[in-house]
Symmetry: C2
Subunit: 232 residues, 2 copies
DNA sequence: GTCATCTTATGATATTTATCACAACGCCTG
DNA sequence: CAGGCGTTGTGATAAATATCATAAGATGAC
Protein backbone atom coordinates (compact mmCIF):
# COMPACT_ATOMS: atom_id res chain seq x y z
CA UNK A 1 0.00 0.00 0.00
CA UNK A 2 1.36 3.40 -0.95
CA UNK A 3 -0.63 6.16 0.64
CA UNK A 4 -0.50 9.57 -0.92
CA UNK A 5 -0.67 11.36 2.35
CA UNK A 6 -1.42 10.82 5.99
CA UNK A 7 -3.94 12.61 8.15
CA UNK A 8 -4.96 12.59 11.73
CA UNK A 9 -8.59 12.81 12.63
CA UNK A 10 -10.64 12.12 15.70
CA UNK A 11 -12.45 8.82 15.87
CA UNK A 12 -14.85 10.30 18.35
CA UNK A 13 -16.21 12.64 15.70
CA UNK A 14 -15.94 10.24 12.78
CA UNK A 15 -19.18 9.58 10.93
CA UNK A 16 -18.28 5.95 10.58
CA UNK A 17 -18.19 5.57 14.32
CA UNK A 18 -21.93 5.12 14.15
CA UNK A 19 -21.45 2.15 11.90
CA UNK A 20 -18.67 0.20 13.48
CA UNK A 21 -18.18 1.56 16.91
CA UNK A 22 -21.49 2.78 18.19
CA UNK A 23 -21.41 0.19 20.95
CA UNK A 24 -17.80 0.84 21.86
CA UNK A 25 -17.10 2.95 24.92
CA UNK A 26 -14.53 5.72 24.91
CA UNK A 27 -11.80 3.65 26.53
CA UNK A 28 -12.14 0.93 23.95
CA UNK A 29 -12.35 3.48 21.18
CA UNK A 30 -9.12 4.97 22.45
CA UNK A 31 -7.49 1.55 22.35
CA UNK A 32 -8.68 0.69 18.85
CA UNK A 33 -7.96 4.11 17.44
CA UNK A 34 -4.55 4.67 18.98
CA UNK A 35 -3.09 2.71 16.08
CA UNK A 36 -5.37 4.26 13.50
CA UNK A 37 -3.92 5.77 10.37
CA UNK A 38 -5.86 7.55 7.67
CA UNK A 39 -4.70 7.33 4.07
CA UNK A 40 -5.72 9.16 0.93
CA UNK A 41 -5.69 7.57 -2.50
CA UNK A 42 -6.13 9.00 -5.96
CA UNK A 43 -8.31 7.56 -8.68
CA UNK A 44 -6.63 4.46 -10.05
CA UNK A 45 -4.45 3.77 -7.02
CA UNK A 46 -4.23 0.27 -5.67
CA UNK A 47 -5.31 0.28 -2.03
CA UNK A 48 -4.98 -3.44 -1.39
CA UNK A 49 -3.18 -5.91 -3.59
CA UNK A 50 -4.47 -9.47 -3.97
CA UNK A 51 -2.05 -11.81 -2.22
CA UNK A 52 -0.77 -9.28 0.32
CA UNK A 53 -0.73 -10.30 3.95
CA UNK A 54 -3.65 -9.08 6.00
CA UNK A 55 -2.43 -7.07 8.96
CA UNK A 56 -5.01 -4.36 9.11
CA UNK A 57 -8.68 -3.77 9.40
CA UNK A 58 -9.59 -1.29 6.70
CA UNK A 59 -12.73 0.68 6.04
CA UNK A 60 -13.71 3.37 3.58
CA UNK A 61 -14.20 6.93 4.77
CA UNK A 62 -14.95 8.49 1.40
CA UNK A 63 -14.72 7.69 -2.27
CA UNK A 64 -15.48 4.60 -4.31
CA UNK A 65 -13.54 1.40 -4.95
CA UNK A 66 -13.73 -1.80 -6.94
CA UNK A 67 -12.88 -5.25 -5.62
CA UNK A 68 -11.07 -7.22 -8.31
CA UNK A 69 -9.48 -10.56 -8.78
CA UNK A 70 -6.95 -11.78 -11.30
CA UNK A 71 -8.07 -14.92 -13.11
CA UNK A 72 -5.52 -17.56 -14.03
CA UNK A 73 -5.91 -16.72 -17.71
CA UNK A 74 -4.73 -13.18 -17.09
CA UNK A 75 -8.03 -11.36 -17.08
CA UNK A 76 -9.58 -9.29 -14.34
CA UNK A 77 -12.88 -10.03 -12.67
CA UNK A 78 -14.70 -7.39 -10.68
CA UNK A 79 -16.53 -8.84 -7.68
CA UNK A 80 -18.27 -5.75 -6.51
CA UNK A 81 -18.01 -2.06 -5.88
CA UNK A 82 -17.97 -0.46 -2.47
CA UNK A 83 -18.68 2.97 -1.12
CA UNK A 84 -18.32 4.29 2.44
CA UNK A 85 -20.21 2.16 4.97
CA UNK A 86 -19.70 -0.88 2.78
CA UNK A 87 -16.96 -3.21 3.77
CA UNK A 88 -13.66 -3.55 2.09
CA UNK A 89 -10.91 -5.48 3.75
CA UNK A 90 -13.36 -7.24 5.96
CA UNK A 91 -14.38 -9.75 3.40
CA UNK A 92 -11.51 -12.16 3.96
CA UNK A 93 -10.09 -10.54 7.01
CA UNK A 94 -11.11 -13.20 9.48
CA UNK A 95 -10.70 -16.26 7.33
CA UNK A 96 -7.53 -15.80 5.37
CA UNK A 97 -3.92 -14.82 5.91
CA UNK A 98 -3.77 -13.02 2.58
CA UNK A 99 -6.21 -10.91 0.63
CA UNK A 100 -8.14 -12.82 -1.99
CA UNK A 101 -9.00 -9.65 -3.85
CA UNK A 102 -7.46 -6.34 -4.79
CA UNK A 103 -9.09 -3.07 -3.90
CA UNK A 104 -8.62 -0.23 -6.37
CA UNK A 105 -9.81 3.38 -6.08
CA UNK A 106 -12.29 4.44 -8.77
CA UNK A 107 -12.30 7.93 -7.38
CA UNK A 108 -10.28 9.87 -4.84
CA UNK A 109 -10.72 7.76 -1.76
CA UNK A 110 -9.76 7.90 1.88
CA UNK A 111 -9.58 4.94 4.19
CA UNK A 112 -9.00 4.29 7.86
CA UNK A 113 -6.65 1.57 8.84
CA UNK A 114 -6.73 -0.09 12.25
CA UNK A 115 -4.46 -2.80 13.59
CA UNK A 116 -6.37 -6.04 13.05
CA UNK A 117 -5.14 -7.39 16.36
CA UNK A 118 -6.82 -4.50 18.18
CA UNK A 119 -10.10 -5.09 16.38
CA UNK A 120 -9.96 -8.77 17.27
CA UNK A 121 -9.27 -7.85 20.87
CA UNK A 122 -12.35 -5.63 20.87
CA UNK A 123 -14.44 -8.42 19.41
CA UNK A 124 -13.36 -10.56 22.33
CA UNK A 125 -14.10 -7.99 24.93
CA UNK A 126 -17.19 -6.31 23.58
CA UNK A 127 -20.10 -8.50 22.62
CA UNK A 128 -22.14 -5.67 21.14
CA UNK A 129 -19.29 -4.74 18.88
CA UNK A 130 -18.83 -8.38 17.83
CA UNK A 131 -22.52 -8.72 17.07
CA UNK A 132 -22.56 -5.46 15.17
CA UNK A 133 -19.62 -6.52 13.05
CA UNK A 134 -21.15 -9.92 12.39
CA UNK A 135 -24.27 -8.25 11.02
CA UNK A 136 -22.27 -5.96 8.73
CA UNK A 137 -20.11 -8.80 7.49
CA UNK A 138 -23.16 -10.92 6.84
CA UNK A 139 -24.93 -8.09 5.00
CA UNK A 140 -21.96 -7.28 2.82
CA UNK A 141 -21.26 -10.84 1.74
CA UNK A 142 -24.93 -11.66 1.28
CA UNK A 143 -25.30 -8.72 -1.04
CA UNK A 144 -22.32 -9.77 -3.14
CA UNK A 145 -23.61 -13.32 -3.41
CA UNK A 146 -27.14 -12.26 -4.36
CA UNK A 147 -25.88 -9.72 -6.86
CA UNK A 148 -23.61 -12.24 -8.53
CA UNK A 149 -26.47 -14.73 -8.81
CA UNK A 150 -28.71 -12.07 -10.33
CA UNK A 151 -26.11 -11.15 -12.92
CA UNK A 152 -25.46 -14.75 -13.76
CA UNK A 153 -29.04 -15.53 -14.63
CA UNK A 154 -29.40 -12.62 -17.05
CA UNK A 155 -28.55 -12.10 -20.70
CA UNK A 156 -26.38 -9.31 -22.06
CA UNK A 157 -29.03 -6.62 -22.15
CA UNK A 158 -30.35 -7.59 -18.76
CA UNK A 159 -26.88 -7.43 -17.28
CA UNK A 160 -26.13 -4.01 -18.65
CA UNK A 161 -29.52 -2.79 -17.46
CA UNK A 162 -28.78 -4.31 -14.07
CA UNK A 163 -25.50 -2.49 -13.70
CA UNK A 164 -27.00 0.84 -14.77
CA UNK A 165 -29.76 0.46 -12.21
CA UNK A 166 -27.17 -0.59 -9.62
CA UNK A 167 -25.14 2.58 -10.09
CA UNK A 168 -28.24 4.71 -10.30
CA UNK A 169 -29.95 3.38 -7.20
CA UNK A 170 -27.19 2.13 -5.03
CA UNK A 171 -24.26 4.41 -5.72
CA UNK A 172 -25.59 7.70 -7.07
CA UNK A 173 -29.22 7.68 -5.98
CA UNK A 174 -30.10 9.60 -9.13
CA UNK A 175 -31.14 9.03 -12.74
CA UNK A 176 -28.06 10.94 -13.81
CA UNK A 177 -24.96 8.88 -13.29
CA UNK A 178 -21.38 9.83 -13.89
CA UNK A 179 -20.08 6.36 -14.63
CA UNK A 180 -17.03 5.86 -12.44
CA UNK A 181 -15.90 2.92 -14.57
CA UNK A 182 -14.95 2.29 -18.17
CA UNK A 183 -16.97 0.06 -20.48
CA UNK A 184 -14.24 -2.50 -20.02
CA UNK A 185 -14.72 -2.45 -16.25
CA UNK A 186 -18.45 -2.91 -16.65
CA UNK A 187 -17.63 -5.91 -18.81
CA UNK A 188 -15.32 -7.28 -16.12
CA UNK A 189 -18.09 -6.89 -13.59
CA UNK A 190 -20.91 -8.53 -15.48
CA UNK A 191 -18.82 -11.10 -17.34
CA UNK A 192 -19.12 -10.10 -20.96
CA UNK A 193 -16.89 -8.49 -23.58
CA UNK A 194 -16.20 -4.77 -23.76
CA UNK A 195 -17.52 -4.62 -27.34
CA UNK A 196 -20.84 -6.06 -26.30
CA UNK A 197 -21.19 -3.67 -23.39
CA UNK A 198 -20.63 -0.77 -25.78
CA UNK A 199 -22.99 -2.23 -28.33
CA UNK A 200 -25.71 -2.75 -25.75
CA UNK A 201 -25.36 0.78 -24.42
CA UNK A 202 -25.60 2.07 -27.99
CA UNK A 203 -28.75 0.10 -28.45
CA UNK A 204 -30.29 1.48 -25.24
CA UNK A 205 -29.41 4.91 -26.53
CA UNK A 206 -30.95 4.29 -29.93
CA UNK A 207 -34.11 3.01 -28.25
CA UNK A 208 -34.38 6.15 -26.15
CA UNK A 209 -33.86 4.35 -22.85
CA UNK A 210 -30.75 6.27 -21.93
CA UNK A 211 -28.86 9.32 -23.09
CA UNK A 212 -25.08 9.36 -22.98
CA UNK A 213 -22.55 12.14 -22.89
CA UNK A 214 -19.27 10.32 -22.58
CA UNK A 215 -19.24 8.88 -19.09
CA UNK A 216 -22.39 10.76 -18.13
CA UNK A 217 -25.47 8.65 -18.52
CA UNK A 218 -29.02 9.82 -18.07
CA UNK A 219 -31.60 7.13 -17.52
CA UNK A 220 -34.63 8.37 -19.44
CA UNK A 221 -36.90 5.35 -19.28
CA UNK A 222 -36.30 3.59 -15.98
CA UNK A 223 -39.45 1.50 -16.33
CA UNK A 224 -38.23 -0.04 -19.55
CA UNK A 225 -34.73 -0.47 -18.16
CA UNK A 226 -36.15 -2.38 -15.21
CA UNK A 227 -38.20 -4.54 -17.52
CA UNK A 228 -35.10 -5.36 -19.57
CA UNK A 229 -33.13 -6.11 -16.44
CA UNK A 230 -35.84 -8.46 -15.31
CA UNK A 231 -37.04 -10.25 -18.39
CA UNK A 232 -34.41 -9.83 -21.04
CA UNK B 1 -39.94 -27.09 8.32
CA UNK B 2 -41.35 -30.55 8.62
CA UNK B 3 -38.97 -32.84 10.42
CA UNK B 4 -39.35 -36.55 9.95
CA UNK B 5 -38.39 -37.35 13.45
CA UNK B 6 -36.88 -35.89 16.53
CA UNK B 7 -33.93 -37.09 18.54
CA UNK B 8 -32.16 -36.13 21.68
CA UNK B 9 -28.42 -36.21 21.83
CA UNK B 10 -25.77 -34.78 24.06
CA UNK B 11 -24.04 -31.61 22.93
CA UNK B 12 -21.11 -32.43 25.15
CA UNK B 13 -20.29 -35.44 23.04
CA UNK B 14 -21.25 -33.93 19.69
CA UNK B 15 -18.51 -33.94 17.07
CA UNK B 16 -19.59 -30.51 15.95
CA UNK B 17 -18.85 -29.11 19.35
CA UNK B 18 -15.24 -28.82 18.26
CA UNK B 19 -16.30 -26.59 15.44
CA UNK B 20 -18.73 -24.21 16.99
CA UNK B 21 -18.40 -24.54 20.69
CA UNK B 22 -14.84 -25.48 21.51
CA UNK B 23 -14.39 -22.23 23.37
CA UNK B 24 -17.70 -22.48 25.17
CA UNK B 25 -17.67 -23.65 28.77
CA UNK B 26 -20.11 -26.23 30.06
CA UNK B 27 -22.48 -23.70 31.65
CA UNK B 28 -22.81 -21.82 28.40
CA UNK B 29 -23.13 -25.04 26.46
CA UNK B 30 -25.95 -26.01 28.76
CA UNK B 31 -27.67 -22.72 28.09
CA UNK B 32 -27.30 -22.89 24.32
CA UNK B 33 -28.22 -26.54 24.11
CA UNK B 34 -31.17 -26.53 26.44
CA UNK B 35 -33.29 -25.38 23.51
CA UNK B 36 -31.59 -27.66 21.02
CA UNK B 37 -33.65 -29.92 18.83
CA UNK B 38 -32.30 -32.45 16.38
CA UNK B 39 -34.22 -33.19 13.20
CA UNK B 40 -33.84 -35.85 10.54
CA UNK B 41 -34.67 -35.27 6.90
CA UNK B 42 -34.94 -37.61 3.97
CA UNK B 43 -33.43 -37.04 0.56
CA UNK B 44 -35.45 -34.39 -1.25
CA UNK B 45 -36.96 -32.83 1.88
CA UNK B 46 -36.99 -29.08 2.22
CA UNK B 47 -35.16 -28.12 5.39
CA UNK B 48 -35.43 -24.37 5.03
CA UNK B 49 -37.74 -22.53 2.67
CA UNK B 50 -36.67 -19.27 1.05
CA UNK B 51 -38.70 -16.45 2.55
CA UNK B 52 -39.33 -18.13 5.91
CA UNK B 53 -38.62 -16.15 9.03
CA UNK B 54 -35.29 -16.86 10.66
CA UNK B 55 -35.79 -17.94 14.25
CA UNK B 56 -33.15 -20.59 14.60
CA UNK B 57 -29.51 -21.18 14.24
CA UNK B 58 -29.12 -24.36 12.21
CA UNK B 59 -26.15 -26.52 11.45
CA UNK B 60 -25.65 -29.83 9.69
CA UNK B 61 -24.80 -32.93 11.69
CA UNK B 62 -24.75 -35.38 8.82
CA UNK B 63 -25.80 -35.60 5.19
CA UNK B 64 -25.58 -33.22 2.28
CA UNK B 65 -27.70 -30.27 1.20
CA UNK B 66 -28.04 -27.75 -1.59
CA UNK B 67 -28.69 -24.04 -1.13
CA UNK B 68 -31.08 -22.83 -3.81
CA UNK B 69 -32.84 -19.70 -4.83
CA UNK B 70 -35.88 -19.14 -6.97
CA UNK B 71 -35.28 -16.66 -9.79
CA UNK B 72 -38.02 -14.30 -10.83
CA UNK B 73 -38.43 -16.14 -14.13
CA UNK B 74 -39.35 -19.31 -12.29
CA UNK B 75 -36.07 -21.20 -12.50
CA UNK B 76 -33.91 -22.47 -9.69
CA UNK B 77 -30.35 -21.40 -9.06
CA UNK B 78 -28.07 -23.43 -6.84
CA UNK B 79 -25.68 -21.28 -4.84
CA UNK B 80 -23.63 -23.97 -3.25
CA UNK B 81 -23.63 -27.33 -1.60
CA UNK B 82 -22.90 -27.94 2.06
CA UNK B 83 -21.82 -30.88 4.11
CA UNK B 84 -21.38 -31.13 7.88
CA UNK B 85 -19.06 -28.48 9.23
CA UNK B 86 -20.08 -26.13 6.45
CA UNK B 87 -22.63 -23.53 7.31
CA UNK B 88 -26.23 -23.55 6.37
CA UNK B 89 -28.58 -21.14 7.99
CA UNK B 90 -25.76 -18.95 9.08
CA UNK B 91 -25.38 -17.29 5.73
CA UNK B 92 -28.12 -14.73 6.19
CA UNK B 93 -28.83 -15.40 9.80
CA UNK B 94 -27.36 -12.21 11.17
CA UNK B 95 -28.31 -9.85 8.37
CA UNK B 96 -31.81 -10.73 7.38
CA UNK B 97 -35.19 -11.40 8.94
CA UNK B 98 -36.01 -14.02 6.36
CA UNK B 99 -34.01 -16.67 4.59
CA UNK B 100 -32.74 -15.61 1.18
CA UNK B 101 -32.22 -19.21 0.14
CA UNK B 102 -33.84 -22.60 0.51
CA UNK B 103 -31.94 -25.54 1.91
CA UNK B 104 -32.85 -28.93 0.49
CA UNK B 105 -31.52 -32.35 1.49
CA UNK B 106 -29.66 -34.20 -1.26
CA UNK B 107 -29.25 -37.16 1.00
CA UNK B 108 -30.61 -38.27 4.36
CA UNK B 109 -29.58 -35.40 6.56
CA UNK B 110 -29.74 -34.51 10.22
CA UNK B 111 -29.51 -31.03 11.61
CA UNK B 112 -29.29 -29.37 14.96
CA UNK B 113 -31.46 -26.41 15.65
CA UNK B 114 -30.69 -23.87 18.35
CA UNK B 115 -32.67 -20.82 19.35
CA UNK B 116 -31.03 -17.93 17.54
CA UNK B 117 -31.53 -15.68 20.54
CA UNK B 118 -29.41 -18.00 22.66
CA UNK B 119 -26.63 -18.06 20.12
CA UNK B 120 -26.66 -14.28 19.97
CA UNK B 121 -26.51 -14.15 23.73
CA UNK B 122 -23.46 -16.40 23.68
CA UNK B 123 -21.81 -14.18 21.07
CA UNK B 124 -22.30 -11.28 23.46
CA UNK B 125 -20.92 -13.07 26.44
CA UNK B 126 -18.16 -15.17 24.99
CA UNK B 127 -15.58 -13.41 22.86
CA UNK B 128 -13.84 -16.61 21.80
CA UNK B 129 -17.09 -18.03 20.54
CA UNK B 130 -17.86 -14.81 18.67
CA UNK B 131 -14.46 -14.79 17.04
CA UNK B 132 -14.73 -18.45 16.15
CA UNK B 133 -18.08 -17.92 14.52
CA UNK B 134 -16.85 -14.87 12.62
CA UNK B 135 -14.05 -16.95 11.13
CA UNK B 136 -16.43 -19.72 10.04
CA UNK B 137 -18.88 -17.26 8.56
CA UNK B 138 -16.10 -15.51 6.70
CA UNK B 139 -14.70 -18.78 5.38
CA UNK B 140 -18.05 -20.07 4.21
CA UNK B 141 -19.07 -16.92 2.36
CA UNK B 142 -15.62 -16.38 0.91
CA UNK B 143 -15.68 -19.85 -0.53
CA UNK B 144 -19.07 -19.33 -2.13
CA UNK B 145 -17.98 -16.04 -3.65
CA UNK B 146 -14.70 -17.41 -5.01
CA UNK B 147 -16.39 -20.50 -6.37
CA UNK B 148 -19.04 -18.49 -8.15
CA UNK B 149 -16.40 -16.26 -9.72
CA UNK B 150 -14.45 -19.29 -10.88
CA UNK B 151 -17.52 -20.82 -12.48
CA UNK B 152 -18.42 -17.58 -14.15
CA UNK B 153 -15.15 -17.20 -15.95
CA UNK B 154 -15.23 -20.68 -17.48
CA UNK B 155 -16.82 -22.18 -20.55
CA UNK B 156 -19.16 -25.17 -20.56
CA UNK B 157 -16.53 -27.87 -20.47
CA UNK B 158 -14.52 -26.02 -17.86
CA UNK B 159 -17.60 -25.64 -15.69
CA UNK B 160 -18.53 -29.30 -15.84
CA UNK B 161 -14.91 -30.24 -15.12
CA UNK B 162 -14.95 -27.80 -12.21
CA UNK B 163 -18.02 -29.33 -10.65
CA UNK B 164 -16.70 -32.88 -11.02
CA UNK B 165 -13.46 -31.88 -9.33
CA UNK B 166 -15.45 -30.09 -6.67
CA UNK B 167 -17.45 -33.19 -5.76
CA UNK B 168 -14.40 -35.40 -6.02
CA UNK B 169 -12.09 -33.30 -3.89
CA UNK B 170 -14.38 -31.41 -1.61
CA UNK B 171 -17.31 -33.69 -0.97
CA UNK B 172 -16.21 -37.26 -1.60
CA UNK B 173 -12.41 -37.06 -1.36
CA UNK B 174 -12.19 -39.81 -3.96
CA UNK B 175 -11.98 -40.31 -7.72
CA UNK B 176 -15.16 -42.34 -7.53
CA UNK B 177 -18.13 -40.12 -6.95
CA UNK B 178 -21.73 -41.07 -6.46
CA UNK B 179 -23.23 -37.91 -7.86
CA UNK B 180 -25.78 -36.72 -5.31
CA UNK B 181 -27.40 -34.44 -7.87
CA UNK B 182 -29.14 -34.80 -11.19
CA UNK B 183 -27.75 -33.38 -14.43
CA UNK B 184 -30.37 -30.69 -14.11
CA UNK B 185 -29.10 -29.70 -10.68
CA UNK B 186 -25.55 -29.50 -12.00
CA UNK B 187 -26.92 -27.20 -14.68
CA UNK B 188 -28.63 -25.07 -12.05
CA UNK B 189 -25.38 -24.82 -10.16
CA UNK B 190 -23.07 -23.87 -13.01
CA UNK B 191 -25.58 -21.86 -15.01
CA UNK B 192 -26.07 -23.84 -18.19
CA UNK B 193 -28.78 -26.04 -19.70
CA UNK B 194 -29.37 -29.63 -18.68
CA UNK B 195 -28.86 -30.82 -22.24
CA UNK B 196 -25.43 -29.27 -22.42
CA UNK B 197 -24.37 -30.75 -19.10
CA UNK B 198 -25.37 -34.18 -20.38
CA UNK B 199 -23.67 -33.59 -23.72
CA UNK B 200 -20.46 -32.46 -22.03
CA UNK B 201 -20.41 -35.46 -19.72
CA UNK B 202 -20.95 -37.73 -22.74
CA UNK B 203 -18.00 -36.08 -24.41
CA UNK B 204 -15.76 -36.55 -21.36
CA UNK B 205 -16.80 -40.19 -21.39
CA UNK B 206 -16.05 -40.58 -25.09
CA UNK B 207 -12.64 -38.98 -24.56
CA UNK B 208 -11.81 -41.43 -21.77
CA UNK B 209 -11.66 -38.76 -19.08
CA UNK B 210 -14.44 -40.24 -16.99
CA UNK B 211 -16.44 -43.44 -16.82
CA UNK B 212 -20.10 -43.31 -15.90
CA UNK B 213 -22.49 -45.87 -14.49
CA UNK B 214 -25.69 -43.92 -13.98
CA UNK B 215 -24.98 -41.56 -11.12
CA UNK B 216 -21.64 -43.18 -10.38
CA UNK B 217 -18.78 -41.39 -12.00
CA UNK B 218 -15.17 -42.49 -12.01
CA UNK B 219 -12.62 -39.84 -12.83
CA UNK B 220 -10.05 -41.68 -14.92
CA UNK B 221 -7.88 -38.81 -16.12
CA UNK B 222 -7.81 -36.18 -13.40
CA UNK B 223 -4.87 -34.37 -14.99
CA UNK B 224 -6.80 -33.77 -18.18
CA UNK B 225 -9.93 -32.84 -16.25
CA UNK B 226 -7.95 -30.24 -14.32
CA UNK B 227 -6.52 -28.87 -17.52
CA UNK B 228 -10.00 -28.56 -19.02
CA UNK B 229 -11.27 -26.89 -15.87
CA UNK B 230 -8.45 -24.39 -16.06
CA UNK B 231 -8.00 -23.60 -19.74
CA UNK B 232 -11.14 -24.65 -21.48
C1' DG C 1 -47.25 -55.15 -13.85
C1' DT C 2 -48.29 -51.01 -16.17
C1' DC C 3 -49.03 -46.32 -16.68
C1' DA C 4 -47.29 -41.79 -15.93
C1' DT C 5 -43.49 -39.04 -15.11
C1' DC C 6 -38.83 -37.71 -14.64
C1' DT C 7 -34.06 -38.30 -16.04
C1' DT C 8 -30.69 -39.27 -19.40
C1' DA C 9 -29.47 -39.01 -24.02
C1' DT C 10 -28.65 -37.30 -28.95
C1' DG C 11 -29.40 -34.54 -33.12
C1' DA C 12 -30.77 -30.46 -35.80
C1' DT C 13 -31.36 -25.74 -35.67
C1' DA C 14 -31.70 -21.04 -33.88
C1' DT C 15 -29.94 -17.64 -30.90
C1' DT C 16 -26.59 -15.47 -28.24
C1' DT C 17 -22.14 -14.01 -27.54
C1' DA C 18 -17.16 -13.66 -28.61
C1' DT C 19 -13.63 -12.62 -31.76
C1' DC C 20 -11.41 -10.02 -35.18
C1' DA C 21 -10.83 -5.96 -37.87
C1' DC C 22 -10.92 -1.32 -38.30
C1' DA C 23 -11.86 3.64 -37.39
C1' DA C 24 -12.65 7.84 -34.74
C1' DC C 25 -12.01 10.29 -30.64
C1' DG C 26 -9.96 11.96 -26.51
C1' DC C 27 -6.01 12.45 -23.61
C1' DC C 28 -1.47 12.51 -22.14
C1' DT C 29 3.43 13.27 -22.99
C1' DG C 30 7.48 15.03 -24.97
C1' DC D 1 1.52 20.25 -31.97
C1' DA D 2 2.63 15.58 -33.20
C1' DG D 3 2.60 11.01 -31.96
C1' DG D 4 1.22 7.21 -29.09
C1' DC D 5 -2.09 4.90 -26.53
C1' DG D 6 -6.25 3.76 -24.40
C1' DT D 7 -11.24 4.10 -24.83
C1' DT D 8 -15.37 4.25 -27.48
C1' DG D 9 -17.74 2.70 -31.37
C1' DT D 10 -19.46 -0.36 -35.45
C1' DG D 11 -19.60 -4.27 -38.61
C1' DA D 12 -18.71 -8.99 -40.31
C1' DT D 13 -17.89 -13.48 -39.00
C1' DA D 14 -16.95 -17.40 -36.01
C1' DA D 15 -17.77 -19.87 -31.90
C1' DA D 16 -20.40 -21.04 -27.97
C1' DT D 17 -24.67 -22.08 -26.09
C1' DA D 18 -29.74 -22.54 -25.92
C1' DT D 19 -33.87 -24.31 -27.78
C1' DC D 20 -36.71 -27.70 -29.77
C1' DA D 21 -37.71 -32.33 -30.98
C1' DT D 22 -37.60 -36.98 -30.03
C1' DA D 23 -36.64 -41.33 -27.73
C1' DA D 24 -34.85 -44.73 -24.53
C1' DG D 25 -34.19 -45.91 -19.72
C1' DA D 26 -35.53 -45.34 -14.69
C1' DT D 27 -38.53 -44.72 -11.07
C1' DG D 28 -42.54 -44.42 -8.40
C1' DA D 29 -47.72 -44.82 -7.72
C1' DC D 30 -51.55 -47.64 -7.81
Amino acid sequence: MEPNSKYECSCVECKLKTLFFEKVDSNELEMVCSSKIEYQFKKGDTIIREGDFINDFIYLKSGLVKLTRQTSNGKEQILSFAKPFDFVSLLSVFSSKRYNYSVIALDDTSICLLALADVKKTIHENGDFAMNLMVKLSEATDMIILDNLEIRRKHLKGRVAHVLIYFSEYIYKSNMIQLPVSRREIAEYIGMTTENVIRTLSEFKKDGIIRTFGKDIDIVDLVRLRSISEHG
